[in-house]
């Protein structure tokens, strides 16, 4: 992946001014003003060439948010139709195998970006670098999903425009039977400067 290209383009494409937040100097975690995936996040203090190993050791795997989401048939159909879906499994609520479109859970955002006391990493803007969705089982209309959010990974990559830090937030969605139905990995990219 061309990280440098990603960063340049996404600084333009993904900044959402109303959602800009600055971390307070005492490093408390903050909540998003809205459950919104196209956000940007500005750190108040840039760190320089931070050693990520101890941060990874302390924070990868930390679970920090929990939420529930109701899966409504009307929204599931509207989402799939707006995406141009033609498969009846996704656009016909009467279909015997009616289910949510594969990426439907990507709009169910955690209310918090980082755990309490999460260290400041990198500088500048945090950019929404993309999403990976894993479909483990069909999501049905009427399901109430419970989502847990963890820091799944922290790593860096170096490209032409310098070193970038990737922070991966993972949401795992389970239905009322505790069956894992969907995993969404959300990659946040920050400059290591």
């Amino acid at each position: 992946m061309g990280v440098d290209v990603v960063v340049i383009d996404l600084i333009i494409a993904e900044i959402h001014k109303p959602c800009v937040q600055v971390l307070p100097s005492h490093r408390t975690a903050v909540s998003l003003p809205h459950l919104h995936p196209d956000w940007t996040y500005e750190m108040s203090q840039a760190s320089s060439h931070q050693d990520l190993a101890p941060i990874r050791k302390d924070w990868v795997g930390v679970e920090f948010d929990w939420a529930t989401f109701e899966m409504k048939a009307d929204d599931m159909v509207a989402w799939a139709e707006a995406c141009g879906e033609t498969d009846q499994r996704f656009i016909n609520a009467e279909h015997p195998d009616f289910q949510a479109h594969p990426g439907f859970t990507t709009h169910c955002m955690s209310g918090r970006v980082f755990p309490d006391n999460f260290p400041q990493i990198g500088g500048g803007f945090g950019i929404d670098g993309g999403k990976k969705v894993e479909v483990h089982a069909p999501i049905r209309a009427g399901d109430t999903l419970t989502a847990t959010t963890t820091i799944a990974d922290i790593f860096d990559k170096t490209g032409r425009s310098g070193t970038m830090i990737f922070i991966v937030q993972r949401m795992e969605f389970r239905n009322e039977d505790s069956e894992l139905v969907s995993t969404v990995d959300w990659k946040m990219i920050k400059r290591a400067e």
Partner: protein, 140 residues
């Protein structure tokens, strides 16, 4: 080779291309998506407001672009199951423009009847807006 549709794993070969698609990203369609996603921000649904934020016009939400690619896969292989889809948002796609989606088979797994796809969405001006991959499972 471009296959309009495939009905089973045996019809898929490494290197096959999915039919190119130009999905509807009109203001009406994007606004409908934003309502379903509770994703109501003017940068997606109002050209003038988006320009005030520095964009060329209203932009297609990243999560919608992923959904457009999923729909393309289902058109190509009706009845298949998308096991995973991973997209990187590289640049803005403009509402009311013509965007082009492509896909190609990059790997096949006979044992699991799965295929891997490379996916791309190109903006009207030729820029690459989204790149991605998907893992797709066939029932037969």
């Amino acid at each position: 080779m471009t296959m309009s549709t495939v009905s089973g794993f045996d019809e898929v070969e490494l290197g096959d291309e999915l039919p190119t698609d130009t999905p509807d990203v009109s203001m009406k369609q994007v606004t409908s998506f934003c309502h379903s996603a509770k994703h109501l921000f003017e940068r997606f649904t109002d050209h003038d407001a988006a320009r005030k934020e520095g964009f060329p016009g209203a932009i297609v939400p990243g999560i919608m672009s992923q959904g457009l690619l999923a729909a393309m896969i289902h058109k190509w292989a009706p009845g298949c199951t998308i096991k995973s889809i991973d997209t990187v948002f590289r640049g803005s796609l403009i509402v009311d423009s013509t965007i082009t989606m492509t896909g190609a088979v990059t790997d096949t797994d006979d044992d699991n009847k799965t295929v891997e796809l490379d996916l791309t969405i190109v903006a009207e001006d030729g820029r690459t807006g989204v790149i991605g991959t998907a893992l797709v499972e066939f029932l037969n």
